[in-house]
């Protein structure tokens, strides 16, 4: 086996500390056909050319590159090997710059160290196998779960590039949370209006033909992996044909039964056949089977009789299970808010006129339960409003993190209350104030300058207490400086911590995607890959990954679309890197120890053959299972036990 050892001086970076002549002398004493050559600046064009030429001209079969960190130039030199006609995995880099020259003072010691590392590389290299990249066919279609801003933005841009997208939305409406908000920070745009272009394009835009929108639907099961997932979706009946329905709402008035409207957080009622709010899209009602009289065996036909369109209402619509093949999945299921009943001193649920911010958004909305009128339970206009920031956020008894968006909507509320009810006294109780960005401060400045607005900083949630004083309510408090006080509050608005959406745990189980310690979907890397989950082919966008505002949710949707469009290209095959784990079925004892250790869920168990196997598309080559397998049945390609021990022995020799 002819092996070339190529030593890069890296200017003086390496040669200052390591005596290449001494290395040459010692290396050439080793058994085997070894060639040693120094090449200056091996990563330069000249250097690469020299390396290629030397490999070819001398018939080298393997190469040790004694140079910089493989992080820097492993790929560079692997490409040179390929060009020289060698398998690129028959190369081993020795990081003598980062791990020796830069960290070892004495030249003699550095040379000795470099020699040992080179020896180790030679030992391991002799055992290395040539490895090949594999390719598999892929399905370029995409599944988007959740039709909020993040999911829709991604779906639309994927559809615009000509790709098929299936959107699964749990509720009858699309648009997510912001379509329920009358106005949006920071620029006080109307929520539904701002989102309309996106929603409209999804429903009937130029590329809507590429989008299959499944509302009142849920993902039940996912099998397969990146490039080839098979998704089972439960499609619940709407009982209304959204294509035929003209959205006139005639059917709703005669309906004799009603229930609390969950879209208005139970602040008002809606019928069994209903639109959650005026302007909801798709503009077609749905029938709530839980209360519809027909579901109870009664022969009510009032809605159908009132409907001016024939067959728009379909009483025999039924649940169906459908299957779709997709190559990538985007999770965009948004977030929820913390249950304020867990902070009893704030009076939520036990005192009148204490609302969460989500509820208050609906109170402010002209299509909400009060048609935008802000009044107390007694029908009076509140003279004082207390807004409690950080309700459950920055609190080790509740949620440790800052929810990031609350301060901004709190000042949005400040603005809207001031506009609707001029002269109302508004108190902001806050732990910290947070509104980073170039636009986000404006509403705060307005509030600060407003003489009817007051700020109280508190240290701990237990320093606040909402108390009844006769017919009135007040917040008694101890502020951050320890001063006690009390502020009247006819109405209270709590800004609860943003928490993972209901059901995101079970969705995570279906997708085998992991959650972080707070229950949000866990990103591959918090800074660099926040739109990717740890499972290859499953992407994240929006508030399901972390509390965020619409801007970031939309950007993340686009980021995910970018990953998907660049990774999965129709007609192009998916390349599988060969550094994966492989189970030797003859050696596998079927003990199932490996099953739970893989962070990427790449291992599955064949109950018939009673052996495990690794899905090479999902495997990231981390080696966890290789270490765990007590039978020695799992081999880590390019990091086999023999290679690793040879390397250790080479260093110690």
């Amino acid at each position: 086996m002819k092996t070339g050892v190529y030593f890069c001086n890296c200017g003086t970076n390496i040669s200052d500390k390591i005596d290449s002549e001494k290395i040459r002398e010692e290396i050439l004493k080793l058994p085997g056909e070894i060639r040693f050559r120094t090449i200056d600046f091996m990563c330069s064009e000249d250097g690469k050319e020299a390396l290629e030429k030397d490999l070819k001209e001398n018939g080298m079969e393997r190469a040790v590159i004694t140079a910089c960190s493989p992080r820097d130039h492993e790929n560079t030199f692997m490409r040179v090997l390929s060009k020289a006609g060698l398998n690129p995995y028959l190369m081993q880099m020795v990081s003598v710059r980062e791990q020796v020259a830069w960290v070892t003072e004495e030249r003699e010691k550095a040379t000795e160290k470099a020699l040992r590392y080179t020896n180790a590389a030679l030992k391991r290299l002799a055992l290395q196998d040539p490895l090949e990249h594999k390719e598999i066919d892929i399905c370029p279609d995409v599944l988007v779960i959740g039709a909020g801003p993040a999911g829709l933005k991604a779906a639309l841009s994927i559809a615009e590039s000509g790709r098929k997208v299936v959107i699964v939305e749990k509720t009858p409406v699309i648009g997510g949370m912001p379509v329920r908000y009358e106005e949006l920070f920071p620029n006080m745009e109307c929520g539904p209006c701002m989102l309309e272009p996106v929603l409209g394009d999804v429903l009937h835009g130029e590329h809507s033909g590429n989008i299959e929108l499944l509302t009142i639907s849920e993902v039940m099961d996912v099998v397969g992996s990146y490039g080839n997932f098979i998704v089972k979706i439960r499609r619940n009946p709407r009982y209304v044909d959204a294509d035929k329905c003209i959205g006139c709402a005639e059917c709703m008035t005669p309906c004799p039964v009603s229930a609390k409207n969950e879209f208005n957080y139970g602040l008002d009622e809606r019928k069994a056949i209903y639109l959650p709010f005026a302007g909801a899209l798709p503009n077609a009602p749905s029938i709530d089977n839980a209360i519809c009289l027909r579901a109870k065996g009664r022969d009510c036909r009032l809605c159908k009789d009132a409907c001016p369109v024939e067959d728009a209402i379909i009483y025999d619509d039924a649940e169906s299970i459908i299957e779709r093949n997709v190559g990538a999945i985007l999770v965009a299921v948004g977030a929820g808010v913390y249950d304020c009943k867990k902070i009893p001193n704030l009076g939520y649920g036990s005192m009148p006129d204490v609302y969460t911010s989500s509820e208050f958004e609906r109170i402010l909305a002209s299509n909400g339960p009060t048609e935008g009128e802000v009044k107390t339970a007694q029908g009076k206009r509140p003279k004082s409003v207390a807004i409690i920031h950080c309700a459950g956020s920055l609190d080790e008894n509740h949620k440790e993190y800052c929810s990031g968006i609350c301060c901004q909507y709190a000042f949005k509320f400040n603005h809207l209350v001031g506009k609707k009810l001029p002269g109302t006294k508004i108190y902001h109780f806050y732990k910290e104030l947070s509104f980073p960005g170039k636009e986000e401060f404006t509403l705060y400045h307005h509030a600060k300058e407003d003489r009817n607005t007051a700020f109280v900083r508190y240290r701990d949630m237990k320093d606040l207490k909402v108390e009844k004083k006769g017919a009135k309510k007040a917040v008694t408090y101890k502020d951050a400086s320890g001063k006690k006080g009390s502020a009247p509050a006819d109405m209270l608005i709590l800004c609860p911590a943003v928490v993972p959406a209901e059901g995101s745990g079970s969705l995570g189980n279906i997708l085998e995607a992991t959650h972080d310690k707070f229950g949000f979907f866990e990103e591959l890397h918090g800074r660099m890959d926040s739109a990717q989950s740890k499972i290859k082919g499953i992407y994240l966008a929006g508030a399901c990954q972390s509390p965020m505002d619409i801007q970031k949710a939309m950007s993340q949707g686009m980021a995910a679309a970018g990953y998907i469009l660049s990774g999965l290209v129709a007609g192009r095959k998916l390349e599988i890197k060969p550094i994966t784990a492989v189970v030797d079925a003859d050696r596998c004892s079927g003990c199932r120890v490996c099953m739970s250790v893989c962070p990427y869920k790449a291992i599955s168990y064949d109950t018939e053959k009673e052996v495990s196997s690794v899905n090479e598309v999902l495997c990231q080559g981390c080696g966890t299972c290789v270490a765990a397998c007590p039978a020695g049945a799992v081999k880590g390609n390019h990091f086999t036990t023999d290679e690793i021990f040879a390397e250790i022995e080479g260093v110690l020799a």
Partner: protein, 329 residues
Amino acid sequence: MSGKPKLSMYWATACGGCEISLVNIHEKVLDVDANFEFMFCPCLLDTKKKDIEAMPDKGIAITLFNGAIRTEENEEMARLLRKKSRVLIAYGSCSYEGCIPGLSNLHSREDHFKTIYLDNPTVDNPSGVVPTPETAVPEGTLRIPSFYERVKTLSDVVDADYFIPGCPPEPHQVWNVIEAVVQGRQLPPAGSVIGAGASAVCEECERKKEDKKIKKFYRTYEMIPDREKCLLEQGIVCMGIATRSGCGALCPKVNMPCTGCYGPPEGVLDQGAKMIAALGSIIDIGDVKGLSEEEIAKRADAVISSIPDPAGTFYKYSLPGSILKGRIS
């Protein structure tokens, strides 16, 4: 002397169970006799060392060498038998990996002598005599073989051709090997483990295996395990996952955990380390999201501390043959 190929069996530091295991092939012993001249076995025959020394080199066809190398004498016999045998087989766990005698590598020779000759309550040794290789007596100097600092395996001192694992090896596996030789079948390359499988005991164990999560370990007397379920899943430290197959999963069959006597599966360098890595992967300390490192360590410690005698459990048979070979003082 007949013209049949010669078979010998020697015991170094061993318990005698290996000899019994050979006899345990029952009536097949007659086949052995028909095919070999069984000519050396201090446990059963009266041949002496000088008789072996007098033989030509490679005069013995096969030597089954059992027992670990604890003393100078053990090594001397190993060298002699290596020289005189065409095929030298490390027979049984002691000569293959050091086995129970090898656990003494957790202590020094001085500690052993102190415990055995000085501190032992049933020993009366007022002048504190401990064995030394040479002792001066009026008649001259007495020599006894020295006691090594550490127990070694057969292949630590000579090249062994094959290894038959087991404490002791299972008779059917012993017979498999003898039969192969008798029938003149091609033996695997030198250095191989023979008379055993390549996978782990679980392969032969019929218990139902699930994905494993262990919250607490139990000692065998603390519970009567379910007969159908994997013992490890029930919290019994069963070494089967990290032990070479070949025995037929005898211990799990009778509701006892595998203790590991067949040594590491093919390709595994260190049985104990593998077992630790595997258990580390399946110990269940509950949801740790949001817990501090100290809290996580505390929970892990609580589960780990329910494993009695980790060194003696994970390295019961394999300490001298492992990577560390014993306690590093």
